[in-house]
């Protein structure tokens, strides 16, 4: 890192007012902090927190199914419905299962490639690999999902490639959803793990090797523990992005539905925002639970 010291020399003060403001600021860290926080906090609270709170409140409303007018008297009916009807439990479990599987697959796939990128590849190869990992992000999500539809179809490339091993295409269904989602979100998992690995000093692993640890042992006992926050950071992306998805499951999921579909059907097709909001509570609760659980690991600083 280089700081141009000649340029960093303080320029002569121009406006006295600006000068005074600046020294005021230097003297008052609290004021500085408030000024820094004011804009982003206002934005997040006004745009996001208010919107989320309003959504939660609307879960307590009902809707006139014919005129589509919302009845704003408070009732727990929607909440009762999503907690008692078995449909919502089944779909929620299915969705969490798919999201968890996607995350596991992504992490398992990301670890070796990220390790190769961070620790083995030359600087030049590393640069090319980062580009190679990032490029698929730019092909539209929808286009990629439809490409997988084609790959997994009856007589598609998957079947062709798998038949010599006596395997068949899984067809459209939850397996296809896991494959497609894992594929789409993979770059978002590779990148934080790669960055996390770069921060693990080579000397540490080498020292373990010198002391007689096998590569596998040093990997398990030294690298992985240091990598946990990065892995969790990556998992937040894959897990949450899968949790709310309804488009991929429409394209390759066969007749299955996930939480996103239930929300979408209710808000899009049935115009029932209150029930949709109540259903949306399920992923909200799951995600907030997950985030608070992992907050202590420092993962949130590694996203």
């Amino acid at each position: 890192m280089s700081v141009d010291t000649t340029r960093a020399a303080v320029p002569p003060s121009r406006g006295t007012a600006a000068r005074r403001a600046s020294s005021q600021l230097s003297a008052r860290p609290r004021l500085r902090l408030s000024l820094l926080l004011a804009a982003p906090l206002t934005w997040l609270v006004l745009v996001y927190v208010v919107a989320l709170a309003a959504l939660l409140v609307s879960a307590l409303w009902t809707v006139d199914s014919f005129t589509g007018e919302i009845d704003r008297s408070l009732t727990l009916d929607n909440l009762k419905e999503i907690t008692t009807e078995s449909l919502y439990r089944t779909v929620a479990l299915r969705t969490v299962g798919v999201a968890a599987l996607v995350t596991v697959v992504d992490v398992l796939v990301a670890l070796p490639i990220a390790f190769y990128m961070a620790k083995v590849a030359s600087k030049r190869a590393q640069r090319i690999l980062v580009i190679a990992v990032l490029t698929p992000l730019w092909a539209s999500y929808l286009v990629k999902a439809f490409a997988w539809r084609s790959v997994l179809s009856d007589g598609g490339i998957f079947q062709w490639a798998a038949s010599p091993f006596g395997l068949d295409t899984p067809g459209y269904g939850l397996t296809a959803v896991v494959i497609t989602q894992a594929y789409i979100w993979l770059p978002y998992v590779i990148l934080p793990i790669f960055a996390g690995l770069e921060r693990v000093p080579n000397s540490l692993v080498d020292a373990a090797g010198d002391l007689g640890a096998s590569p596998w042992t040093s990997m398990r006992t030294i690298v992985l523990p240091l990598l946990v926050p990065a892995i969790i950071a990556g998992s937040i992306f894959s897990f949450s992005l899968t949790l709310g998805d309804y488009i991929t499951v429409n394209i390759v999921g066969g007749a299955n539905q996930m939480l996103g579909n239930l929300v979408y059907t209710n808000v899009g097709a049935a115009n029932n925002l209150p029930l949709a909001a109540a259903i949306a509570l399920i992923p909200i609760v799951i995600m907030i639970g997950y985030l608070t659980a992992v907050r202590r690991t420092g993962a949130l600083e590694n996203l």
Partner: protein
């Protein structure tokens, strides 16, 4: 790092395999853009340039790319400003509720898009009574893009430490001068990386966009979705995707070159 050649070979093989799988569907997309079948079925029955011609002539696709770029640029700029402010506040100060603020920044990306989408839709239309349009999309995208900038800048600030800034202040530089001459130059590559990721995130976002875009606001993903439902347009979508992949390599490569260190692109 010292690794045995077997481990190296295994790693090379795995990396190659992962890349192969990553690019296989993209190859399918490229091939399908020359596939005469209107419905993207495999295997292709021949070769045609018809879809490329149509894509070239498609005003709708061009307009959609323009609005997507507008949205992505605007929301990236907002995210850059807000994300940087936020990370300076959180990394350089201690205050009550800090971890809650941290969580708040992450929430828009950590909660599923459909939740963010219906919440903002409801807020814009139901509470504020604003007409949905390109502005509402920008606001929505900026909200979930803040986190990518925030994370990159925060990581950089953490590694930088505060000693240079303190030195600058000790030498008599004002707050703004210190930021301009000391902090900002060190943040540049982190900002570039965060900005690029924010741009990518916004450019390809479909779910939140569906709920926040108004009449006549057609971003590229929305155009793609609409055209997949339109008779005989699906292959044109493939052409657009191929063009996007090709075009995207340039900014990524440039960013890599400019930032100088790969860490910047995480």
């Amino acid at each position: 790092m010292i690794l045995s050649s077997t481990v190296r070979r295994v790693l090379v093989a795995l990396t190659g395999l992962v890349l192969l799988v990553m690019y296989l569907p993209l190859v399918v997309v490229v091939i399908n853009s020359f596939n005469p079948s209107r419905t993207l079925t495999w295997p292709p029955t021949g070769v045609t340039l018809e879809w490329w011609r149509r894509a070239w002539e498609s005003e709708g696709a061009r307009d959609a790319v323009v609005s997507s770029v507008e949205v992505a640029v605007a929301s990236t700029v907002i995210a850059l400003v807000l994300g940087t402010l936020m990370s300076l506040a959180l990394q350089r100060y201690r205050f009550f509720g800090k971890s809650s603020v941290n969580l708040l920044v992450i929430l828009p990306i950590a909660l599923p898009g459909i939740v963010t989408g219906i919440a903002l839709n409801n807020a814009f239309r139901g509470i504020l009574g604003i007409q949905l349009g390109i502005l509402t999309v920008i606001v929505a995208h900026a909200t979930f893009c803040i986190v990518t900038v925030f994370n990159n800048v925060q990581a950089r600030l953490r590694r930088m430490g505060g000693s240079f800034e303190e030195a600058s202040a000790d030498l008599g530089a004002g707050v703004w001068t210190t930021f301009r001459l000391v902090t900002f130059p060190q943040l540049r590559s982190a900002l570039l990386a965060g900005g690029l990721l924010a741009f990518a995130l916004s450019f390809d976002e479909i779910i939140v966009t569906t709920f926040t875009a108004g009449a006549g606001t057609t971003t590229l993903p929305i155009w793609i979705l609409n055209n997949l439902f339109r008779p005989n347009q699906a292959p044109v979508v493939n052409v657009v995707a191929v063009v996007l992949i090709l075009v995207s390599i340039l900014p990524i490569w440039l960013a890599q070159k400019l930032s100088g260190d790969t860490e910047a692109l995480r």
